[in-house]
Symmetry: C2
Subunit: 174 residues, 2 copies
């Protein structure tokens, strides 16, 4: 099966979390008008005594499309946000936060290169892939004593994600 | 008085908070080695029932150097992080988290364009300035019912910050 990525938007992504972008966000001037603040763009969760961490992730090995999805995972106690530092399109695969992964309910999205995303706690998702070595993303997620990650290997299905209209690898090179 | 900005480093900035950068950070591979995670780069605080917010700020009106510092502020209950989306040098002015601002203890730093910073709660700082319209920064700070901001106007001193070695406006244009 091949999941085709559809353009990411706040509306389409709302069952899974937030799109982090200035478009459509509440905003107001600060610092004597020199700066505009696009305010409070996602809901950060760090339950059960967790704390919020800020990390950077960097692409070592670029992925290519179509991409075979071998693993999906979820974090039940915390949200997880990814925001590109610079321009980097993301291909995102998500499923509803049910107890088990339902392969037939997975959906794929492609970002516009500037958009970030924030997975709500419990949302199943494909681990981050990127399309050019060196691309960096800010991650905002939960830290805690416990390892809050359930991983499910997809062995019994040939499941791919693709993005027909967009030549991702060349976009990533810019 | 003119404060000269010195290059930002974790060591120099440690009395005031964190430098958010991959350099010198704990890191390890994730996602089958395709991605490297530079882990937990700053300490996020949101005390007194606050929550952690992610926002984007965007430069409406570029500042020029030398820049007259008219206001410093602090947030007593929460940390505040700024991370450039893309390359954007920051000129930062900070003072120790004492009850009052001590002008003679302010220090100025200049980032390398990729570095982010995180002010510890209570650290006095100049509000964000940027050197090119449209530059964007991720902000991670505290939200809550109360307005957690003390602002002090600097009326009785001609206090400027400058950065001698670096032509900031032209760097910001790239």
């Amino acid at each position: 099966m091949i999941l085709q990525a559809q353009p990411l938007s706040k509306e389409r992504f709302s069952p899974f979390g937030d799109v982090i972008e200035t478009l459509g966000a509440e905003h107001y001037p600060i610092n004597a008008g020199s700066i505009e603040r696009f305010h409070d763009l996602c809901k950060i969760d760090a339950e059960d005594g967790g704390r919020v961490m800020v990390s950077i992730v960097k692409c070592n090995q670029p992925s290519v499309l179509p991409y075979k999805i071998e693993v999906v995972e979820r974090h039940s106690l915390g949200s997880q946000a990814f925001i590109p530092l610079g321009s980097a399109r993301m291909v995102i695969v998500v499923g509803p936060p049910n107890e088990t992964v339902q392969l037939d309910r997975l959906q794929a999205f492609v970002s516009d290169g500037r958009q970030g995303i924030n997975y709500r706690p419990g949302v199943w998702h494909m681990p981050l892939i990127a399309f050019s070595a060196g691309l960096e993303f800010i991650v905002v997620d939960r830290g805690g004593a416990d390892l809050d990650c359930d991983e499910v290997r997809i062995d019994d299905a040939e499941l791919f994600v693709d993005c027909e209209q967009i030549n991702i690898p060349s976009e990533g090179d810019t």
